[in-house]
Symmetry: C2
Subunit: 356 residues, 2 copies
DNA sequence: TTGAAAGCGCTAACAA
DNA sequence: TTGTTAGCGCTTTCAA
């Protein structure tokens, strides 16, 4: 007990009104027990007598003691921090936000905390966030990969950090991944338009280097092929990166000599841009539109926008569950989980082609 | 050097293929220098000779060493973890998501990481999240308060945790807060309708116990009063908690003997519900609507929805800046920062009352 | 049931 | 410029 300083000793030199946080030692001193007894109380270990327990409890309340989880996890044998890191596209977009929330909900019962960051399609930022989260010793990472190579994480995985990927598979790294059924979903959307009688269906796509974008394009091609239709490159617009780009592309398409009678917009933002363009030209009731990725209020637009909806909540939940299963010791081979899409019919996709 | 174990010593008993993370000691041993020299290199302290620097760098690369920030911050004098905790309503809703993103952006240049959680209007959850984040020794907390009393955080603030509140002021606790101009914004919205000639303006409001909701109601009352109009309680619907509730309320209002000619929906979700109801009754071009809180795609609806927009990005940015200023030692009295709202005219709010 | 001593990975303070 | 020693707040190990 000789080495123990009291709280009031430590107060010297503090900012006015500021008080050092009491430690377990302070609690132990006040309760007149050893450090280890306090530790036992905090961790609800059974072997503590009723009397010491109340004495310790009282000291904890009196000092307003808060356990220090970082110190605890540093010393613990398993070294786990009860933290998962989320490396997503943009925490402000509805997709990333839904994934984050789903992971949070899956993590809560395990008392695991979520740290999150936005990559904004910047590979350097992806690496920086991974580094940062690893430096904080997260138990696992859920990553929507942007960089062209994820092999830089191999060392971290070997050191015990669990890696789960969402949205796109990692490259040069074998790990669990949860993806939407991009190809099948796109096929569904295009076949829906084909079933409605359309034969001239434009395609709007995101950056071709993004795997989800190229898979959706693949689905478009396959749907046309199965219908015995040729691909007309003049109505295929890829590498579109914004609402504005999609809007401009659709305006162009509408002015072609033989314009498309339907549009398949293979991404969230592009669907919105396409709708805006159609509405701007007052053609929203003439030209059919199916989007990939649902968006808020798609049902309140006029016409409601028919979409192939992803399920980001399911993706986030599965990612978290997979991560926790690995943390619990599952060493089976890595898996690819494909979350099905769902066609939501709202009007825009059911517009018939003009009879000529 | 005698006490040093090597990495291979530690490998015994590891999972197959799993390897313990190398520590500074391992790096020091491999580079043939002292622990402190490695620490100097990691922290980019200047006093290291070029030769040792390269030797250490090489060892770091060879071992794929990753610094442990939790250990570092435990030992550091300031005890700072370079982490801020966000306790928000629901990370999946656009408002919380925008705040989160803005905080992330403000935190990035300081290499501060964001941990976040959703409260879902549950006071117990608010307390649990605060406890959890404090246990992780976040440097500061940004909280959108839900509980009826925030005095439980006083001890944490005294212990040095910086507290900043957003959206609503804390109760029984004096701290910095960033809020939207709820009262003035609501007044603006209602006055816009009054200026358009409306004399019978319905009010839709969230739970009256929420301070933002009651302030917006106050703005509505004041606007009417200044215009010399009485308040008609039959067209005031408060305590609405969902899209559906707002929708039902509007449907009722439309069936009154003397229905309102305009609706002021004092919250995001309620504005959406009101629009859905008007559209469902095909009255969206007859009855004027102004909402509080912008929402995605409000401009693409028909008519576009006129709103009093909050600025969650500014709120998040100001909250983070205020938090960091406090961390940097600012001890001035706590402040209330009011972020102005902005009326965005899109059509629904400019519908004229019927001439009778 | 309780406690003393050691040490998790790192930085502070000081010495060489 | 480099290294040694102590110790951040906690858990582990082992002894009483």
């Amino acid at each position: 007990m000789a080495k123990m300083t009291t709280l009031s000793d430590e107060l010297a030199g503090q900012e006015p009104g500021e008080r050092l946080r009491p430690t377990m030692r302070d609690v132990a001193a006040l309760a007149g027990v050893s450090l280890k007894t306090v530790s036992r109380v905090i961790n609800a270990e059974p072997a503590v007598s009723a009397e010491l327990l109340t004495r310790v409890q009282r000291a904890i309340d009196q000092l307003d003691y808060r356990p220090n989880l970082t110190a605890s996890s540093l010393r613990r044998n398993d070294g786990k921090t009860a933290t998962v890191g989320l490396v997503l596209e943009d925490l402000a977009n509805p997709y990333s936000a839904a994934v984050t929330r789903a992971v949070e909900d899956a993590a809560r019962p395990r008392r695991v905390t979520v740290v999150a960051g936005s990559v904004d399609e910047d590979p350097d930022r992806e690496r920086a966030l991974v580094r940062e989260f690893v430096a904080r010793r997260v138990d696992g990472l859920i990553v929507a990969p942007t960089a062209s190579d994820q092999s830089y994480m191999i060392g971290d995985r070997r050191a015990g950090t669990v890696l789960v990927f969402v949205d796109r598979p990692p490259k040069h790294l074998d790990a669990d991944v949860i993806v939407a059924a991009n190809r099948d979903g796109a096929m569904d959307g295009v076949r829906h338009l084909l079933a409605g009688g359309h034969r001239r269906i434009a395609f709007l796509g995101d950056l071709s280097t993004i795997s989800t974008a190229s898979e959706r394009y693949g689905g478009y091609l396959e749907a046309l092929e199965r219908a015995g239709l040729p691909v007309d490159d003049t109505i295929v617009r890829r590498d579109l990166r914004s609402v504005g780009a999609a809007q401009a592309a659709v305006e162009e398409l509408l002015h072609l000599t033989v314009p498309p009678t339907a549009i398949f917009a293979a991404q969230n933002v592009l669907g919105i841009g396409a709708f805006a363009a159609l509405r701007g030209q007052r053609r929203q009731f003439d030209v059919a539109l199916v989007g990939f990725d649902d968006f808020p209020l798609a049902d309140l637009l006029d016409p409601g926008v028919t979409v192939v909806a992803q399920d980001p909540v399911a993706i986030g939940r599965l990612a978290a569950e997979t991560l926790f299963r690995r943390l619990d010791g599952d060493r089976s081979p890595s898996t690819v989980q494909v979350v099905p899409t769902r066609l939501i019919v709202r009007g825009s996709g059911e517009i018939a082609p003009p009879v000529d």
